[in-house]
């Protein structure tokens, strides 16, 4: 092998490795946004579009608290807690009164709520978007010729450990048992003394708090929180949860990571013909043609 050729090969391997890492970063972000959505769908069979509004709210809360206290350690959990409670309020005030209606009623309510939230952010926080006065986690880590920001690593590690904790919660605890029982059959679960209402509250709290964490992460990546930041997640997360098999948490995680990697490579190699956001849907259409129940559907 000539040295020139070998150098070219090494550069290419390096590039593929970097793209793979970028894909995992995108994928982890998608995972924590989408998991809340799939939880709501699993429990209530509602497509909760306003989830993306909570994601943006998380970004705003995280940024405002971090800017005023100077501490992300405070900003992120507080944002998650606040948004979690707002998520519970959305369930109580918006979805619960229309649970006996056909599913599209809740879908329309959810879309309306999402648009209202976007415009509310614009009215309250202004159209220009907000930035961190001193953005945390921006220091650059370098290894093997790859430059990553602390926030890139935090996203991958943070998302995967949060999802690990969620899986532990649902598999190993009594709360998780109640949760799974309610998903399987709310009526029987209730007759065994499980409070279905509490399970739903918990579900919205956790899902919304995760969306808030995702919002804070993304605001750190781009140093920008804007009213329309929920726009892309509002529909891409829907594609992801369908791919993952609606209501399936593990499937959602894998679908997110796969989509992240496909997007990272697709942006470079098929970006001329297919927009990055279109990739998710092209992928979705292909998968649904081959496996109409989604990649990882439970039967």
């Amino acid at each position: 092998m000539s040295p020139v050729f070998r150098a070219a090969c090494e550069r290419l391997t390096m590039l593929y490795f970097e793209l793979l890492i970028q894909g995992l970063i995108y994928g982890s972000m998608y995972a924590i946004i989408a998991v809340g959505l799939t939880l709501v769908y699993g429990l209530l069979r509602i497509l909760h579009v306003a989830h993306a509004g909570l994601f943006a709210l998380g970004g705003y809360m995280g940024l405002l608290i971090t800017n005023s206290t100077g501490s992300l350690i405070l900003g992120m959990p507080l944002a998650a807690a606040i948004v979690g409670v707002v998520g519970m309020a959305i369930y109580r005030l918006c979805y619960q009164p229309i649970l006996d209606q056909p599913p599209y009623v809740a879908l329309i309510a959810s879309i309306g709520l999402f648009i209202a939230m976007e415009e509310m952010f614009r009215l309250i926080f202004g159209p220009f978007g907000l930035t961190y006065t001193n953005a945390p986690l921006q220091s650059v880590v370098q290894f093997a010729g790859i430059y990553l920001r602390a926030v890139d690593l935090a996203i991958v590690v943070g998302s995967l450990s949060l999802l690990g904790a969620l899986s532990w919660l649902s598999q190993k605890t009594r709360i998780g048992l109640a949760w799974r029982a309610t998903v399987d059959d709310p009526q029987i679960a209730e007759s065994f003394g499980i409070s279905v209402l509490n399970v739903r509250y918990l579900n919205f709290f956790i899902g919304s708090a995760l969306a808030a964490v995702a919002g804070v992460f993304i605001s750190l990546l781009s140093n920008l929180v804007e009213p329309t930041m929920g726009g892309v997640p509002s529909y891409k997360a829907l594609a992801i949860i369908v791919l993952g098999g609606l209501g399936n948490v593990a499937g959602t995680l894998i679908a997110s990571l796969v989509l992240g990697v496909v997007e990272a490579f697709g942006t470079i190699y098929i970006g001329d013909i297919l927009d990055r956001d279109a990739i998710a849907f092209a992928f979705l259409i292909i998968v649904l043609m081959i496996r109409p129940e989604g990649l990882f559907a439970r039967r």
Binding site: P127, G129, D152
Partner: protein, 383 residues
């Protein structure tokens, strides 16, 4: 009691309405549409504030033809489907003398046709699509065409900075595509070879994979189109990945917000635009101070463009000595006016002819870098 209050309220409304009407008869109306809600709301806010400032300044100086100017503003959400009914409303209901777009190309193109049809003069403040002025003789543009600014970018990179190996990162919309087309058009003339071109959508804020590929391409410079909300994250992600070559942008970057988002990574970024922050020209310097005082935030290219378009309209009505559309049209065609974005003159197609300002980020602010005044290079199409 409730009834009494509501009757009282009704009366107040009636009186207010009547006085409003009485007022209306004494004013000269200028129609204005911009995206005040939706994804482009930030640019809409800037351009509207710029236009309002111009109206206030003209009115403070005694108005035109002995009357006060009145700006009639509608929100078009940067959507063509909104701007067409707005144009009809401005013409039919508000009876505006001149229409102005403080909006993006899509919305401006559709409204331009309506104004041309009604034979009411119409000025695009910063829409860049070539078809806007092709609607007819009643339509003008006070900003550069995307292609023309692309030409300026090629000269800046290849000639003035001597960078020959260039990667293009293109925003996939009218704005980005026409800039890239103009740049590629003139690249060979300045000895520039284009290594690669990447595309991204206006919703993208994460550019990790493009950044990784650009790094592997190892260019002398990057010509990247975008708005402050895409360019800010792009530039900071490029710098974080260790890409140190110059980044050249355009008027879409032209906002204090770009520097805020990109932080220290913004330093040294160079753009082609139409507002010179260090200008000693009184029209520009006064605009920059007056705008910040009125709006509460720093001026940008979009604000200056909204301001410029209203100034051109007011000047034309004044010189026409009448609000008759044909006379105002003739007056706009012969415009020779010094304003915040330079000296405005139009060619036969209604395209502006002025110099391109080159600005650089230094110590967290936009500053003068150079000016491109090559009339042949910057000549807009005349038909």
């Amino acid at each position: 009691m409730v009834k009494k209050i509501s009757i009282f309220a009704l009366a107040v409304c009636l009186v207010a309405g009547l006085s409003g009407m009485a007022n209306a008869a004494d004013t000269i109306k200028i129609g204005f549409h911009a995206p005040l809600t939706g994804f482009a709301a930030s640019d809409g806010k800037s351009s509207t504030e710029g236009a309002k400032l111009a109206v206030n300044q003209v009115n403070a100086a005694g108005g035109v033809l002995g009357k006060q100017l009145e700006l009639v503003v509608y929100d078009d959400q940067a959507k063509p489907a909104q701007s067409i009914p707005i144009a009809n409303k401005l013409i039919g209901q508000d009876k505006v003398v001149v229409g102005i777009s403080g909006s993006y190309s899509g919305a401006t193109r559709s409204a331009a046709g309506v104004f041309q049809e009604a034979k009411i003069p119409y000025i695009s403040a910063y829409g860049i699509h070539p078809d806007i002025t092709r609607a007819g003789e009643y339509v003008f543009r006070t900003s550069f065409l995307g292609e023309i600014q692309g030409h300026a970018g090629a000269k800046l990179l290849g000639d003035m900075m001597g960078k020959k190996k260039v990667v293009i990162i293109t925003l996939q919309n009218d704005f980005g595509k026409s800039l890239a087309a103009g740049f590629k058009d003139k690249a060979a003339d300045y000895g520039i070879s284009i290594v690669n071109e990447y595309q991204y959508s206006i919703k993208d804020r994460q550019f990790g994979s493009i950044v990784a590929k650009v790094k592997a391409d190892n260019p002398d410079a990057i010509y990247a189109s975008g708005y402050y909300f895409t360019a800010g994250p792009l530039v900071s992600q490029l710098r974080a990945a260790g890409v140190t070559c110059p980044v050249i942008g355009q008027e879409g970057y032209d906002s204090q917000k770009f520097i805020e988002i990109a932080g220290p990574a913004a330093e040294g970024v160079i753009i082609t635009t139409s507002l010179d922050r260090d200008s000693k020209v009184p029209e520009t310097a006064d605009f920059i101070t007056a705008f910040e005082k009125q709006a509460g935030f720093k001026s940008d290219m979009v604000a200056a463009s909204g301001h410029t378009a209203v100034m051109v309209a007011a000047d034309a009505i004044k010189r026409a000595g009448s609000t008759d559309p044909a006379k105002v049209l003739a007056a706009i065609q012969t415009t020779n006016l010094k304003v915040s974005t330079g000296t405005i003159k139009f060619n036969a197609l209604g395209e502006v002819m002025k110099a391109v300002q080159v600005q650089v980020v230094k110590d967290g602010n936009w500053h003068h870098y150079d000016v491109i005044d090559d009339a042949a290079l910057l000549a807009p199409p005349a038909e």
